[in-house]
Symmetry: D4
Subunit: 226 residues, 8 copies
């Protein structure tokens, strides 16, 4: 059984996930103690497996940096990266678009996750529809991508507008940016789910990571990757 997972008691590291799903196991750092996180990272490092940690707090990052594991941490996206060996390279490219500057943490989580998984990423930030000419100015570049990740809070209309203009699948990521009747991201989530434009599918609020993984799974299929 050892070959398909490692049992740490409080965690069972899924060693066959890469084989099964094309994407290696990742670590959801939120809700883990810093000691648990360190032990998990050590275990992956010992096995020579690259792994990505999401929603890693500053405090968790500082703690695990005291180990000898070769880690890097990005404050904006809260991603923790353990990179071992040669990185996978995916053919194809992903455009990560976001509506406003406040959406950057989620957009960067998407962009850097995709890069970690081997994809090429173009960033198009602050192109929300209040000033739609900013989107049109970038439209031809955005159309070149194989997949578009559209990140937006407040009313979240960016993904609908884009999807009506391109022949590329759009992964929409609602964010919790906003206040009042945004209800912590419920508003853009509903917007994206009800889009009258076609070709949009949606992930959880603030889940830039999930959008990137889904995009990379698509790229792998699209481009005869692997």
């Amino acid at each position: 059984m050892n070959d398909i997972y490692t049992d740490l008691g409080f965690a069972k590291l899924d060693l066959s996930r890469k084989h099964r799903t094309g994407i290696a196991e990742t670590i959801y750092c939120a809700g883990k103690t810093k000691e648990q996180l360190a032990e998990i990272l050590k275990s992956f490092a010992q096995k020579g497996i690259s792994v990505l940690g999401t929603r890693c707090s500053q405090e968790q990052a500082e703690y695990v940096f005291q180990t000898n594991i070769p880690l890097s941490y990005d404050e904006t996206s809260r991603l923790l990266k353990l990179s071992v060996g040669q990185k996978e390279k995916l053919n194809g490219s992903i455009a990560v678009c976001c509506a406003g500057t406040a959406d950057l943490p989620v957009a960067e989580e998407a962009a850097q996750t995709a890069e970690f998984l081997g994809a090429e990423v173009q960033r198009f930030f602050d192109i929300g529809i209040a000033g739609i000419h900013r989107l049109f100015a970038k439209l031809e570049e955005i159309r070149q991508a194989d997949i578009i990740i559209a990140v937006a809070g407040m009313e979240g209309a960016l993904s609908s507008v884009i999807a009506g203009l391109v022949d590329t699948p759009v992964l929409a990521v609602p964010t919790s940016v906003g206040y009042g009747a945004s209800f912590n991201g419920l508003a853009p989530l509903l917007t994206m789910l009800n889009s009258c434009a076609e070709g949009i599918s949606v992930v959880n609020i603030d889940n830039g990571f999930g959008a990137a993984v889904t995009a990379c799974k698509m790229l792998r299929r699209m481009k005869n990757n692997d």
Copy 2:
């Protein structure tokens, strides 16, 4: 007391509303029996006051048409109109835009209410953002209006896109058109309330009537009407 309202027991007709608020009393037909509706209409007709009935069912309309009151009824908007004497004429114009054909009942409620109150109305229907070139083709005409009423269901992004492109106030009307996570119009309502574009204010779901009254109150002030 007679001069400020008429007491029918089950209803007290507000005769000073026009004086106080610039807009005469209107009748919310839903929830009234057809007999109550007929009695109210008779009372207004006797006093020579024009009045608009909203959300009037086919069945209610047929019943009250059996009276001698000079009524007209529109099936699409479910508006019942009792027109007596000379119509008020408001300077200025209102653009009523809607996203899709299914939004027509609400858009027509807005347009015909505004016309009943004396405003000039331009209609721009089925210009939703899934095919945004349809909106751009009409943009210059829309910009000419003094006020824009933007009616949309599903994700309701039309009002945001318009508001980012014009210097006209936008009254946004979410509709219950849609299904699933539209939650009967909650989705476009939240979209419109959370708009990142400025200059939008919102009325209740499917409330084309309310948007039109608000627009006419604005026109009256704007154009030195009255």
Copy 3:
């Protein structure tokens, strides 16, 4: 302007959508009068454009069948199809899975939409997780598809279980099948959005159509279609 849309007054038919987005305009039949629907269909037929109508009621279908337009209608999926000329053929295949028999209308909407758009579809119905061996019995076949559409009501866990077992992107479609705390599909919607398995993106409740269009947009990109 004639070349990019046809203006019927109550509707503006988007003639450039196929060019812009890879997918021709479709008709959302719900909320349209049967007369409006007939006029729209005639207009497309005259231009020799194939078009798909969704959420078409029995009554609407019967009405438009009285015209001379070459239509077909499927009761289960409520799809109305106007097929003109040669059908597009997309390389690649889509697995449409559903959890229970009651999910069939949505699953068929997905499957037949995808077929209408030229994709090859495999159906795997009634493989919900209450009897997970039924899923495992079909797993190898499901893995062959380029994209998986997972349709489920009640608790909607099917998509998570599948996504943890395959390297294919999964499009999850929550359905309104269920009662009580399903809240008309809210429960499976939330399940799918919160999936701990990676590679899932979600469309609106009961939106088999949207999942199929998204899948076909992916296939077009994946397989050098076009």
Copy 4:
């Protein structure tokens, strides 16, 4: 392209917004790092453009005050103001009413935003309906305004009562003042959307800024401003 926006990478400053919409771009400070905010302000200052920042925290304000940009900050409303050159002057006046003292931050955001955009503002604070004589005492003054902004938390009935008494359009702003079944402002939001009085339109919870911008767009149209 430089003339319509400035690209800072993390932000694209919309330089044509004033031209398009009559209202210059504003900065939503929440969710921006203080370094991003400073860079944006510098860019506007260099171009000689006045700009308003909303939801600016004390900490952000202190940081950007270390630059040489001529800024002012108001703690109550959390508005940050960069004033360059001659201020626009709008004809017409706005009455900003609020129900209770706890609504002041939102009411001041509305009032000061309107003043920043050139409007004349009268303040009528703490005139909620629990002591309705306070409202009646001020009614004649309130009626003089061209537009009324009514700010209220808890049950938010102020806007309905006012709208029933005046011929002025009312912009209603629900606030998050309250507790329990206020659900952070949902209660007054619903109250305002469902008003039986006519002539009310609503903005997001706590969005004094949005109400003021909408009011100023109306004033510009009303009074042949520009």
Copy 5:
């Protein structure tokens, strides 16, 4: 045990409720078959106990009228009344106010329930705040009552306005009158719960019956009734 309840199998009639709570058992007709309802009524009639049935459908009423029990039925309020012997007489009076004509079914349920329980009732209907002078015209009369029941749908502000003007306790009854963001009465329910005016307590949406029973319990205590 017989003296405290009668066991019909599908129902256990509470014979000691009058003794315990001051109010005799009542019958919630909704959800009962017409045969069950008839059997329950017969049992009460045999014991010579007056009883009130609420939410009785037309169809149920017609069925039970075929028995020999001395019943009366009111269509507006859907109340079914079995009156046996001398009616109790409560000192004190209740003012039943409602905002609009569409609230009449609930207001009548309140008024007739109170009358059935022996209270004196004054009706003040259609005095909603859109025309607040109608309320002021009746205010002195309303102030005479010992308890006020305020029934309102839409935004439900009537109870707050009244409570700020009188020294009488106010029982607020939200109704499901309205549409869209009324969410079937949620809007006025929240309004009433969040009232800034003091002395209001609230019952369930459309629960005129419950308000009347509560009011009568108060009257019994207030006026040395019993």
Copy 6:
């Protein structure tokens, strides 16, 4: 593969469920066409397997009764029963309690499901807490049961009161009986989930079937059944 399920295309009958889970497959009739239901029943009948159908409409029942399959149908509970061979007999007993007569359909679904699965059932109906002496009168009998199923709508407090008085596990079933702020059973669902009394677990709204199956699974374990 034949031995673990039968594939009808639109349905895969789970033949190993009894072996795996102790409870044979059941049929959720809602959402199935009557033809599908008939085919499924025939298949089970041919294999000599007893099966229970839930939420079977009158119309479905009438259709399948035209086949030769030995079926029975109960209108109150909407249960359809195909009984083949010797019934299983479970040791131990279940008390099915309900708060009001309107809860009977759910209570009977629970009771008859449990009886179909071989359990002995005692019924205690209409013992809601408005007349708590009715509960106390039956308390000793209720305590004899091995498991209690407590069915209640409206505020759903019955399960809490019982659980505080017995040493038996309580399965709580909220029902959609009620109106207004019951929100179709949300109110009793939340009541039951938040119970301050211990030993309660909860199933879906109106899910008498699910409570009974869970109770029978417990009985089988409790009493060395099987």
Copy 7:
């Protein structure tokens, strides 16, 4: 106008409230700055008017204690009391019951508010239905009160059980005590609104103050107070 309110600019103190409603103005401290609070208190003190402040934070209390105003503060209930002159004395008594120890802050807010307004209060704490014998042990004493205030969090069933056992009106106060599906007091709020026992009316979550004011308004009417 001076005699009916004092205008502090940020606040208008309602001096005629006692006359109009029987209850003097009170101060909602939450959302006021400590300087505003001090100024309001000074103004009341100068006029010789007793006033109660609710939801007063420790920090606010410490600040206003630095003035010379004769104040007292209670940490549990967060009530701030300015007592001037002779206290009103109300005939009749109020029973304040609460379900658990964690409900004490709300129960004390109710009890002390009632005492401040002149009522006699009996406290019955921690008598929740998980151990219903504790309630029965106190029932005779509780029945003596003229009004019962029932405070409960979690599932909030206390008020229903009490109301079924007494002939006294019950004011139910849901509290935010609980977690998870309590949704900050939504669960007991719904429980109380849907009570099958009669004679219950409900105030906002955690609104012990409001219940007490309502109870005192009842007492004043009941007992020929004033």
Copy 8:
């Protein structure tokens, strides 16, 4: 009366709960002051009764450790244990399963509560369905238990998958682990309530304690305990 509860004024300790319900009283520490908690513990200690405190904060624990009472505290589960005399021993065993490491606090609350009440517990942690082979690897062991407690956040599908594979009753505990559309545990709560697998009943979000008590009540009945 002394023998059935101890009255501390702010709390009434239920001394007969063990006798009535099989489970001794427990202390809900949240919302109690540390002084109240200490006094309650002292009272139980003096009577020689073991008692469990739930949701005990670090700060509360530190305070009560200054007394002489023999206490132990577990940080992960936040359980406070006062163990006096011989522990009860329950026959039978409980499998506590959880989906991810972040669910450990809730899983440990369940496991340690069950152990405190005398049950034997097996822990199966981090076996969520994203890597379903981890569950299958443990399935035979899990099947040995008499009752399964399944703890899961995010989409909460673990309980459904398990219930479809075992003949053991499953108590499902949703957790607040997750973000965005998890809505603090609402998502897994709905998942568990809507499970298509049979034999699941659900407790409140994060209520590991409640699941354990329910499980122990079942064990006592199952195994002729007591």
